[in-house]
């Protein structure tokens, strides 16, 4: 990574992702979460939702399937993808996400710094992604912190 501070605030082009009910089902099956609010619209409505909803970590699916690809992001940042670790992940929730929603996601570098440790220097990068639905409602913010071992 070149000049770190230069990357602070860097924003990547927005992308769109349409949420499909089958994708939600595939995701919760992989996790092994049998909660019916993700697959049964009747149960979901009884519990006060508009339809089935996306589970708490579904943002990863929007970003991995809809986004520019992790390796491309890293290339853009000048980070060696082989030397990185996922250190932290945070999700902040604003509104439910339902099948048929068209999510627009925008990612920016919200924090970046270097730390000298016993094992050598490390770069910490936080990528913040804001998810907005087709009604221009903010539904989710994700914050992914990665560490590059130098």
């Amino acid at each position: 990574m070149g000049d770190l501070q230069e990357k602070l605030g860097l924003e990547f082009p927005a992308y769109k992702f349409v949420v499909e009910q089958g994708k939600i089902r595939e995701f919760v099956q992989a996790v092994g979460d049998p909660n019916p609010v993700y697959v049964n619209s009747e149960t979901a409505r009884q519990e006060g939702y508009q339809n089935v909803i996306a589970p708490p970590t579904f943002g990863v699916c929007v970003e991995m399937w809809g986004g520019p690809g992790f390796e491309n992001l890293m290339k853009e940042l000048g980070v060696n993808a082989v030397r990185i670790l996922h250190a932290e992940e945070e999700f902040e929730y604003f509104k439910e996400i339902n099948p048929g929603d068209e999510i627009t996601a925008t990612t920016r570098v919200s924090n970046i710094f270097r730390k000298e440790g016993k094992a050598g220097a490390m770069n910490f990068v936080t990528l913040e992604t804001t998810h907005t639905n087709q009604r221009a409602e903010k539904v989710l913010i994700s914050r992914m912190m990665i560490v590059e071992r130098l």
Binding site: K23, E26, F27, Q29, A30, V31, G32, D33, N35, P36, V37, T43, E47, G48, Y49, I53, P55, P56, T57, V60, C61, E63, M64, W65, F70, L85, H86, A87, E88, E89, E90, F91, E92, Y93, E96
Partner: protein, 139 residues
């Protein structure tokens, strides 16, 4: 399905219901790769996991966070959840049995904060974190 939960019923020191998962399998990692779109081969190709020094494939950190999300929403309905934050502490491997537990550490200004962690069958901590939620009041 979560039982109806009220603000008055949750207090500092309360433990959330513990979730113990089935052992993680290689097949689950393949499914999660497809489900999430994270195709980093360190999670699915044994030779790459070996080359990276892990002796084989390792689980997606986000799968373990998915278990945390499952444990949380078994207790607190999604609609009340405001924030979940996870720190990835150690790698998780196939055959690991993950248990998620947590407890309430703060209750103020309409917001309840809990700490949460995921451990394996040997008690090794895989992830730590916090989550925040609101709840309806009885009165």
């Amino acid at each position: 399905m979560p039982v109806e939960l009220y603000w008055e019923n949750v207090n500092v020191g309360d433990e959330m219901p513990v979730l113990t998962k089935e052992p993680i399998t290689e097949l689950q990692l393949v499914k999660y790769a497809g489900g999430s779109g994270d195709f980093n081969p360190i999670h699915t190709v044994d030779a790459i996991g070996k080359k990276a020094g892990f002796g084989g494939v390792i689980a997606h950190g986000m799968l373990v966070m998915g278990f945390m999300g499952q444990a949380i929403t078994n207790w607190v309905p999604n609609k009340y959840l405001k924030k979940v934050k996870t720190r990835f502490v150690a790698v998780t491997k196939p055959q690991d049995i993950i248990t998620v537990s947590g407890k309430v550490i703060k209750k103020e200004e309409n917001l309840i904060t809990c700490e949460i962690m995921a451990k394996d069958q040997k008690g090794e901590i895989k992830t730590t974190g916090q989550f925040e939620f609101t709840l309806p009041k009885k009165s």
